[in-house]
């Protein structure tokens, strides 16, 4: 299980994730992103500060979310990456498409 808390700011939804994002927990995050987009919340910020592990399935969820939000003229960004997550984003090229904003 992962914890997901949400905050609505202007036209952005901030999702704070707690836990590990993998094949077991990724579908939970994917479902939430789909739900937000369906409700018209197409600008999503995902705070990964409390995420200490994410694998390729989790990256796939983020990519799917990015595609879904952009197809509705929105965007998805990730913040709060640890050094190891930054390294993983760099290895996979995700840093080029998921703009990171330091808080």
């Amino acid at each position: 299980m992962i914890g997901i808390t949400e905050q609505f700011r202007d036209n952005w939804v901030l999702l704070q994730i707690n836990g590990e994002i993998d094949m077991a927990t990724g579908p939970q995050l994917r479902q939430r992103i789909v739900q937000y987009v369906q409700e018209g919340h197409v600008n999503i910020i995902i705070d990964l500060t409390e995420v200490d592990f994410i694998d390729s399935t989790g990256l796939g969820v983020l990519i799917g979310g990015l595609k879904r939000t952009r197809s509705h003229d929105g965007d998805l960004q990730c913040i709060g990456l640890s050094e190891s997550l930054k390294e993983m984003f760099k290895l996979t090229g995700l840093d080029a498409v998921l703009t990171e904003q330091d808080t």
Binding site: M23, A24, F53, D55, G60, G64, L66, T92, G93
Partner: protein, 146 residues
Amino acid sequence: MTTGITLEIPAKAEYLSLVRAVVVSAAALDPAVEDQRLEDLRLAVSEATTNAIRSHANLGSEERITIRCGLTADRIEVEVQDRGPGFNPENITPVGPLDQPGRLNYEGGFGIPLMRVLADEIKINSADEGTTVQLVVYTPPSNESS
């Protein structure tokens, strides 16, 4: 392998975190292993086990997945063995960069490339009766070993 453990799990995603925790705990028994290498191993093992679970899911198999972790003086070796339908590693097409047009339509394609980067050695033996992925992470000489 001089010392090691063997773990058998049902092919279910809920067991992934357990596999990661057990393998990393076993590897951490070698005090010479740096934290970053443990993180590399954690991710590589997770990718291999995820692929194994997927292969069983596609097959509808009730067979278990076997994970072996062994420590020697200079390396950590992990084997992830499934009984899925197998695949030809040579047929894996490298995926393009994410900022390439159309690339976002495909969410996968990271698992094996990540394993290749994270592990010092990787061998994939795949046949009709299953796949075994061997991951090796080198360890520096320990002051305690002779």
